[in-house]
């Protein structure tokens, strides 16, 4: 089977967008970067994200958390207060590379100790690159509990985007369960495992409709009635005719891969994961958990009508109604029902459609190109396995179990007992049949780390395989912390150097922080290990990570200076620092 990385664009651009994409030359100006301060309190609260009340993890009484809006070059300072009663908390700034501030990456057990109940931690980091980002919890399944929000970085003062628009909207997509996250976690860790099932609702900006539909006239759900003040009232996109809008989209879903469309409106993709891409036009687009995009669309349709904006589940037999909101042409009332049904999504398992979208994404000319050669290639086999009656996901037969001491501290201070041996560089590519359930389904748990030599170019081949169930292989969106990577290509079946090496795209591969592997396929990534720190690389499906689907990269940790000690006040690093004290207090291991 052919791989899908051919660098061509199958999609025609509408003329109105083409005009907007003309290069814009901006004179360099001095821009004064700012520090933007936020004081946040995290706590649980009752909320009705989909009109059914449950408990969400909110920030300052809001769900989703407050949107951070900054300009490239700014420093974000978030003083995060943990107001939970028994749980730690951290926040990961998804897509921000944390250049020089690896302790601010917000990954419990990796970049820092979880913030204790009643305590606080100050995240201070620079947002160096304009783009559409988001943030979310990164301890246990706190993202699934609703701990997320948007982070939008505009170009610096005096700079311009390489496209223009008249207005913009932001849609943060997520999925929602009525079962509490703690119970979901217990189920995933039980023997036999109890799967969380499909979400009850899809949310747009934290708003969904469980028992009714905005498009009731086209389906068999009852009609939603909103005053607009309900927590689950949809966020209406109010537009004027004949304008161009930027729609920022990010997916913080726990599980669902989504397909988004605006009825009768083409979208031009211009940004992916905070990187400009070669613009291309689509009628619908796939968005995997961890992805972010900007698209432009022009309100060139009949302005007397309103139109549905829809998000549907992809890649899993959908049991969840589509999320809907309204593209509301002024001066129509927002409540005016669209005359046309919501956009039709491609069949959930139409992977050819998904692959066509994914393989249409290329770097915008002028983007950094990848090094031509790699120093090291790590092949990561993704398998579903069993361990002592539990169901696990494993990478090269190791299911990631995070240690009590954050790697950033244990590696910096050479506490080698804080984690386990280094994992395997590859799997048995000759013997392993990726099209069948594993012959030996047993895996082991481990907390080993891939040590990357600072400054080297690393290739990662993500190799998908069959799950424990015959004829099933799932989609996994892999997200890398601390870096963008170039997506060199996607392919079917087993990756083989001889066959596939030459086809990798070294010309204009897109820079991303998240890339999907398709069922039974492989994905080839390249990045430069140039950011001293310790970085998670994992499937962004929350229960999959919880079940061990991730690895950890460490690079140049000896070069990391000035780690705030409050980031290391737990586990073996705490014991080490405290044992250096010679007051009359003892340390026990």
């Amino acid at each position: 089977m052919a791989s899908l990385f051919h660098p061509r664009n199958n999609f025609a651009l509408p003329f109105s967008i083409l005009l907007l994409l003309l290069p814009i030359f901006v004179p360099a100006t001095t821009s004064a970067a700012k520090a933007r301060h936020f004081k946040w309190e995290v706590e649980y609260m009752f909320w009705s994200p989909d009109c059914v009340e449950g408990v969400v993890m909110g920030i300052n009484g809001q769900f989703p958390g407050p949107t951070i809006r900054a300009k490239a070059g700014d420093t974000i300072v978030v003083e995060l207060h943990n107001k939970l009663h028994t749980e730690g908390v951290v926040i990961h700034w998804h897509g921000i590379r944390q250049l020089g501030t690896p302790w601010a990456d917000g990954t419990a057990s990796i970049s820092q100790c979880a913030i204790n109940p009643g305590d606080h931690f100050v995240y201070r980091f620079k947002v160096d690159k304009p783009g559409t980002y988001f943030y979310h919890g990164h301890l246990g399944m706190q993202r699934s509990a609703g701990l997320y929000g948007s982070l939008i970085v505009d170009v610096a003062d005096g700079q311009k985007e390489p496209f223009s628009y008249d207005g913009e909207f932001n849609l943060l997509l997520s999925d929602w369960w009525h079962q509490g996250v703690h119970e979901q976690e217990v189920g995933l860790s039980s023997s036999p495992m109890r799967w969380i099932g499909e979400p009850q609702s899809l949310l747009m900006n934290g708003r969904g409709q469980y028992n009714c539909s905005l498009a009731a006239q086209f389906g068999n759900l009852s009609s939603c009635k909103f005053t607009g003040r309900e927590q689950c009232a949809p966020k209406i996109l109010r537009v004027e005719p004949n304008k161009t809008y930027r729609l920022r989209i990010a997916s913080s879903t726990s599980l669902a891969s989504l397909n988004l469309a605006i009825k009768n409106h083409k979208m031009t993709v211009v940004e992916a994961d905070g990187n400009y891409v070669q613009p291309f036009s689509v009628s619908d687009m796939d968005i995997y958990s961890g992805d972010s995009y900007s698209v432009l669309f022009t309100t060139d349709q009949d302005p007397t009508m309103n139109y549905y904006v829809s998000a549907r589940v992809r890649g899993r037999l959908p049991d969840t109604p589509q999320a809907l909101t309204i593209l509301n042409y002024k001066p129509n009332a927002a409540s005016k029902r669209p005359s046309l049904p919501p956009p039709l999504a491609p069949a959930w398992n139409d992977y050819a459609h998904s692959k066509a979208f994914t393989s249409s994404i290329f770097a915008r000319p002028g983007s950094p190109a990848p090094p031509r050669n790699f120093h090291r290639r790590i092949v990561l086999l993704n398998t579903q396995n069993r361990m002592n009656g539990l169901t696990k996901w494993a990478i090269n037969n190791v299911s990631l179990t995070l240690p009590a001491t954050p790697y950033l501290g244990s590696i910096k201070y050479k506490l080698w007992h804080a984690f386990e041996d280094r994992p395997e560089e590859d799997y048995d590519r000759e013997a392993y049949d990726v099209t069948k359930p594993p012959v030996n389904p047993n895996t082991t748990a481990g907390s080993g780390v891939y040590n990357l030599r600072l400054g080297t170019t690393v290739d990662v081949i993500l190799q998908n395989a069959n799950t424990l169930t015959a004829n099933v292989s799932e989609i996994h969106p892999w997200h890398l912390h601390g870096h963008d990577f170039w997506v060199l290509g996607y392919g079917e079946g087993k990756f083989r150097e001889k066959e596939h090496e030459k086809g990798l795209n070294l010309e204009n591969p897109p820079l991303r922080n998240t890339a999907v592997i398709f069922p039974y396929g492989w994905t080839a990534l390249r990045f430069v290990a140039d950011n001293p720190g310790v970085w998670a690389f994992h499937c962004h499906i929350e229960p999959h990570l919880h079940m061990g689907m991730g690895v950890v990269f460490a690079e140049g940790v000896h070069r990391v200076r000035d780690i705030p000690k409050s980031a290391l006040a737990c586990g073996m690093t705490a014991r080490m620092f405290m044992s250096r004290d010679n007051s009359n207090t003892t340390v026990r291991g």
Copy 2:
């Protein structure tokens, strides 16, 4: 109104018990105290405590946690591993005074930092006194989540109890909700407050029956069918005729005060909270959360029958079916239904009955007597209040909010900013009307501490009052850590020295660690502040403590040596120790 402390015993003892209570003189022998080691893992698991499945916090896969059985003088060593994903954990050893080991008291924010997920802590403490104890979580509402178990200390080798018996049973009583504890917590912290309501079930040794009754023939619930292997199958008490048994009873309820009875069998109370009491006979007994007792009973009834053992809710209009198990005379089948109905409980609000029981408890002759005089008397007014829309319980108008840094560390290391100013010593006894809702319902939150001078005798007067609702005053069982106290007396209305001082019982007051205040009443306690450490004193009703109903006593903390630093690896103590380190790592506050 007269107070109820008159030192006389209204209850006649059955002859069979009297014989057993003859003093027993035991020659002193050398007994080899042992260290008993346990390795425990705390994790959530699915369980059906009352035949309805929910999530419980278990230890080593068991609910309730394993019973610790030791001998007086032994050292208990529990290596506690936190296998929760996001929550800290601690375990308090209820009734163990922790003489010389205040860091092992297992109170988060008071005696230690919560143990982080993935980490562990070693509790090492001596059980110096035989008795019936239990252990439970002391962070958030983890006790309500099921984190509890029994701790039974036998007399040392060569020693004998001052009574004898042919066999023994242990009943650990608790209450159970179908709503998860996290959601309960969110409700209690919401504005307006959402009360947890009455428990769905009462449990005996973690076993209850929600939708059926062992006494179905006497009520309108359906009949329970058990093979005996179900998680909710009752623990049958199998007895032989004409023997005497010791029944150990402890209550770890979150909310419910209970009344326990064995149909047609009198019980002789011989121990309360790990202290021998003057034996007295009862047909039923009240057990408040935090209490423990031993009673003796003789199987002197018709041996061809089985009998019900029942526990019912006291002091709140009961909405919860009684807990039942069977006193099963051998060789009857356990499944043989008792011919007599379960014991009738007194009316839930028959406080006279409750007071008669409570005021029948006196120290066994030879028990330590209280000092005749006190150095300091602290009067604690118990009120229900409001704060920023929240409902709180407050003591002298301060609702306890625990700090991020354990007091044991912050006081030891003089980190005075770690908590707030000292609270009030008394309330405005002239002006405050305890029979009415508070005139000013507003309270403040605080983390202040009562500093007790080491070695002094401290009196505490617990003063009950009306709640926010007219004509309502509730029962509160107050539990003191680190000490036993003498219960000098109970009274009605407002405590007034002139009127009540002389009536306090200094002759044979019982030593307890838990004492109740009755609605609109007061309770007078005395203890010697002779145990260096920081000690919680609080209402043992879990949601009440969660809503601030407690105070903190600190005594002789300068004398505490050798605090394990792992007990202090959080908050300001962690920052202090880590800042003393001069490696290239910075500390941020």
